[in-house]
């Protein structure tokens, strides 16, 4: 096994037995059925949208000591890798549904840089006395009003100049319109409040999704 390229802190493209894959360097065991070779935990693009963004050629800069607010952490697939990347940072992880959160708590127990919050991301006032000002907001919630949710959270917690990544699934915003129309609408909404640094699709890993990288 050998490292081909460094992508971010603790994040590499590695080659093993004639195949190469994205991985994060981790001292923790596999969490969602991914393979681990040496210290390198495979980061699967079919499971994690952020991995799909990176494999499609775009790497948002995420600093290792960043303070991050993660909205919609679900069972923690992506968060497990972000926890490897932010090895001297902090992740405030918000999820509303108890079922996936139960699995996520296993991860939160083991990782010291994760603060788990079983809260509704559309009511950020409920955790305003907990979350400190953050450098980055990562949002992956399939909800019709997800842009509004992102904006209110950014207003409350994102410092000026802070950045965010929003994963948008066309079908959860409007299931009857063409995905491209939905995406145009989302971009125009975000443009009102943020600078759009980059956006793009997640094919072939996730159908009818885009990511948007913004700065406040």
């Amino acid at each position: 096994m050998r490292v081909i390229k460094e992508i971010l802190n603790n994040t590499f493209i590695v080659e093993h037995r004639d195949s190469s894959f994205l991985a994060t360097k981790s001292r923790y065991p596999p969490f969602y059925g991914e393979k681990k070779i040496g210290d390198y935990r495979e980061w699967k693009a079919y499971r994690s949208k952020l991995a799909a963004v990176i494999l499609n050629g775009y790497t948002p800069s995420i600093k290792k000591d960043a303070v991050m607010l993660y909205l919609g952490v679900a069972s923690g697939t992506t968060a497990s890798h972000l926890s490897d990347i932010l090895d001297s940072g902090i992740i405030y992880a918000v999820e509303y549904s108890a079922t996936p959160f139960k699995k996520f708590l296993e991860l939160a127990e083991e990782r010291e840089n994760i603060i788990p919050l079983l809260e509704d991301a559309s009511k950020p006032e409920n955790y305003s006395g907990i979350v400190e000002p953050v450098d980055f907001i990562y949002q992956d919630i399939s909800q019709k009003n997800q842009i509004e949710i992102f904006s209110t959270n950014a207003d409350l917690f994102l410092r000026d100049g802070g950045e965010g990544i929003i994963m948008v699934k066309a079908r959860s915003i409007d299931s009857t319109s063409e995905p491209s129309e939905v995406f145009n609408f989302v971009l125009s909404e975000l443009e009102k409040f943020f600078d759009i640094l980059k956006h793009g699709g997640l094919e072939p890993f996730h159908k009818d999704h885009i990511f948007v990288h913004v700065r406040k």
Binding site: E109, L118, I130, P133
Partner: protein, 267 residues
């Protein structure tokens, strides 16, 4: 605390703004963690917390420990709730139905090829499953009657549980308009119809979803089902609201549904 207006709730206690930050650390972190609602704080909660805890590492250690404790308790409570119990009973019922069908088919396959003592044992298993299914259905009915009495009185336990499962919670069901309750479970055909309409084509929206399983709807001729479904959904919406806000069983609603069914049957 001279000015109440200048004080804010944080997870570790109260923080007041008067000549800098003044911190009143809470004695029970778990309690203050769960009651720290504010709008935007004019200071960093971490900066204030460093005053309370002395160092960054102590701040995060306490924050993490409290967050984990609260999250674990909330997850446990949520997963053990009455509504979840009802939904998991319903899921078990559906799985058992699948099993019974599948096994009966296999038994037939075996019987056709050979006479075997095995099939007798197999038949026994299926008949045990059927007995258990009955018990399960009884439990669903009685539990639904206890926690969602009004909806159950109209729709019966199993359909109530199904509505609850699709809505996600009684709270959500109670906030649904009747027209939504009417077509819960028929989302696919609804959205198909809507997207056809958007393209300017003719389309029919569905008349009923889950509530079609109700004998009062299924038992009517096709033409009258829409009317019955609309009426029943309207009463179910009212019933769900009574149930959610803790009201008692109101027999009037069932009576109205029964009467409507009678009228539609005769016409």
């Amino acid at each position: 605390m001279s000015e109440i207006n200048n004080c804010y709730n944080t997870w570790f206690g109260e923080v007041c703004l008067e000549d800098g930050l003044k911190v009143f650390r809470s004695k029970n972190l778990k309690e203050s963690f769960q009651s720290c609602k504010n709008w935007k704080l004019p200071f960093s909660v971490k900066d204030a917390g460093m005053i309370a805890f002395g160092s960054e590492s102590e701040y995060y250690r306490n924050l993490r420990r409290t967050a984990l404790q609260v999250a674990e308790e909330r997850v446990r409570k949520e997963l053990q709730s009455d509504e979840r119990y009802l939904i998991s009973l319903l899921k078990a019922l559906d799985e058992i139905d699948l099993g019974i069908n599948l096994f009966s088919e296999k038994i037939r396959d075996i019987e056709e090829t050979r006479e075997s003592s095995l099939t007798e044992k197999f038949n026994q298993i299926v008949s045990d499953l059927k007995t258990f299914r009955k018990d399960l259905e009884n439990e669903i009915n009685s539990h639904a009657e206890r926690i969602i009495p009004n909806v159950s009185s109209i729709a019966g336990g199993v359909i109530t549980a199904r509505l609850l499962e699709k809505a996600g919670s009684l709270k959500k069901l109670a906030s649904m308009p009747a027209s939504t309750i009417q077509i819960i479970g028929a989302e696919k055909s609804l959205f198909k119809a809507i997207s056809r309409m958007k393209k300017g084509k003719k389309a029919k929206t569905p008349k009923h979803g889950i509530i079609f399983q109700h004998p009062y709807i299924r038992g009517l001729p096709k033409k009258k089902r829409g009317k019955m479904a609309r009426f029943m959904a309207a009463k179910l919406a009212i019933a769900a609201r009574i149930d959610f806000y803790g009201g008692e069983l109101n027999e009037e609603l069932v009576e109205m549904v029964r009467k409507k069914y009678g009228e539609l049957q005769e016409r």
